[in-house]
């Protein structure tokens, strides 16, 4: 059955996984951080802006996944027309190129969400330490960016 999937099919699966996995991670991360942000704002609405930034941090992985998916779709010609008929090997390579941001996006967004929750706890008690608090979830972003770079480099360097 797998042998019946065309090269374009594998490439499309890669783009879909980049969006789905990274998007799911971000949805979890933003959701859990949003719960914590709501808890703080219930008691102190003046901290809304600070906790909102914390909540948004795990949302970037979803955007990275979307970016890689756009590049992939554009590369195979599904976006903007002029699509080429890919062989299976090229399609699988594109799928492989999409996986870093998909998998790392999922895991890093979940962990970033939990770190954001802890950082929101800092902001709740010591709002003047917002800068330091934001660094902790921001650290997790490093690995999503590394995965994004590799996915973009790999997708763009594959010859179609």
């Amino acid at each position: 059955m797998l042998s019946s999937i065309s090269g374009n099919g594998w490439a499309l699966l890669g783009a879909a996984l980049a969006v789905i996995l990274a998007g799911c991670g971000s949805a979890y991360g933003v959701g859990v951080a949003g719960q914590a942000a709501s808890g703080v704002v219930t008691e102190d609405p003046s901290k809304f802006a600070k906790v909102l930034i914390m909540q948004l941090l795990p949302g970037t992985q979803g955007i990275y996944g979307l970016l890689v998916a756009f590049i992939t779709l554009s590369k195979v010609g599904l976006l903007g027309g002029g699509g080429a008929e890919l062989d299976v090997a090229t399609g699988l390579m594109i799928l492989g190129a999409c996986l870093p941001i998909g998998i790392v996006g999922l895991v890093s967004a979940m962990h970033q969400g939990r770190t954001s929750v802890a950082a929101i706890g800092i902001v709740a008690k010591k709002p003047d330490q917002f800068g330091k608090a934001m660094l902790f979830p921001a650290m997790v972003e490093t690995y999503a960016i590394l995965a994004l770079l590799i996915s973009i480099l790999a997708v763009t360097s594959i010859q179609v």
Binding site: V32, A36, S38, G39, E43, V117, A124
Partner: protein, 322 residues
């Protein structure tokens, strides 16, 4: 680890800002008079329009505010049962004494527990002990019969207090939350040490102590009871070999320092919850911290009302959670 408590813990973090720190307590102690203390508390948002100038009403209102917040968090009140056992068993004790002595003083009951004073009186009056929770039935029946046949109020107290400690310890053992296990262990161990100290001072027998002390992992009740028979130094010596060595030092200092240590020990047990973001621990810790805060304020107000010197009040003041 679960996300179930994320909202509640974050809200508690924001509320912790309003908890009294050690420096706020220092400011309260530094107030010149009882009236100034009340004014200070009102300025800090304690009480409401209806409680103005009435210390007891202010403290009761604060306790009510705490439970109202916990209810709003919707985390399941069953997690807090272990904290209400002492009040619940107190109601049982008061009801048995009221029925047996026919002295119906309704002001000795707590109403913020699952069985109010009125209900407890009815249960004891009709001897319907089966309608009590399982962990109260046997103790209720035994204490009732004991008081009725011997008239020994102290023995009745011992039976019910022991049952309360056993209930707290069982709830701790069954609890999934680590903080409840730690709280139960600390509460029972500290209660056993208190029993040993008081029994030593009043020359109680080994049998009495064995009946009063509840088993727990961190204290060997046999050794503690034997130590109590040997004198205060023997109790101190025993405690030095346990994780309650600081209690031995407090015993050496003064009785009030020891009482203070007993409460501080609970606050130390819950302190790690300040750094926990995903369990029910910080919520339970907040309730205990509020109770400790209210108790400390009550001690200070009582000291001020009786014109105790500042140092004497300070010696009795508990460590704060934040």
């Amino acid at each position: 680890m679960s996300e179930k408590y994320t909202y509640a813990v974050a809200r508690i973090r924001a509320l912790e800002l309003a908890l009294f720190s050690n420096s706020t307590i220092d400011q309260l102690i530094a107030c010149g008079s009882y009236e100034q203390c009340l004014q200070f508390l009102e300025e800090k948002g304690w009480g409401d329009n209806e409680t103005s100038g009435n210390a007891e009403a202010i403290l009761t209102r604060e306790e009510e505010k705490t439970w109202k917040i916990v209810e709003e968090l919707k985390v399941g009140m069953e997690h807090f049962d272990v904290l209400s056992y002492s009040k619940l068993f107190h109601n049982l004790k008061a009801a048995i004494k009221a029925v047996c002595t026919e002295d119906m003083n309704r002001h000795v009951f707590y109403d913020d527990v699952s069985i109010s004073g009125e209900e407890m009186l009815e249960i004891v009056r009709t001897k319907d002990f089966q309608s009590l929770p399982e962990n109260m039935r046997q103790a209720a029946e035994e204490a009732y019969d004991t008081l009725l046949h011997t008239g020994d109020g102290q023995l009745c107290d011992v039976i019910i207090d022991r049952a309360a400690l056993d209930a707290i310890y069982d709830a701790g053992k069954k609890a999934k939350a680590e903080i409840i296990r730690d709280y139960a262990e600390s509460t029972v161990a500290v209660a056993d040490i208190k029993i040993a100290v008081r029994s030593q001072k009043t020359a109680k027998s080994m049998d009495f102590m064995k009946r009063a002390m509840a088993e727990c992992d961190s204290i060997d009740t046999d050794r503690l009871a034997k130590a109590a028979l040997g004198g205060m130094d023997a109790i101190r010596e025993y405690l030095l070999g346990t994780s309650y060595a600081e209690g031995a030092e407090a015993l050496l200092e003064s009785p009030s320092a020891f009482e203070r240590w007993c409460d501080n020990r609970i606050i130390q047990t819950i302190s790690p919850q300040k750094y926990n973001a995903f369990t029910i621990g910080p919520i339970i810790a907040y309730v205990l911290a509020r109770q400790n805060e209210i108790k400390t304020v009550r001690i200070i107000l009582s000291g001020k009302l009786n014109d105790l010197p500042e140092d004497s009040i300070r010696e009795r003041v508990r460590e704060m959670y934040v």
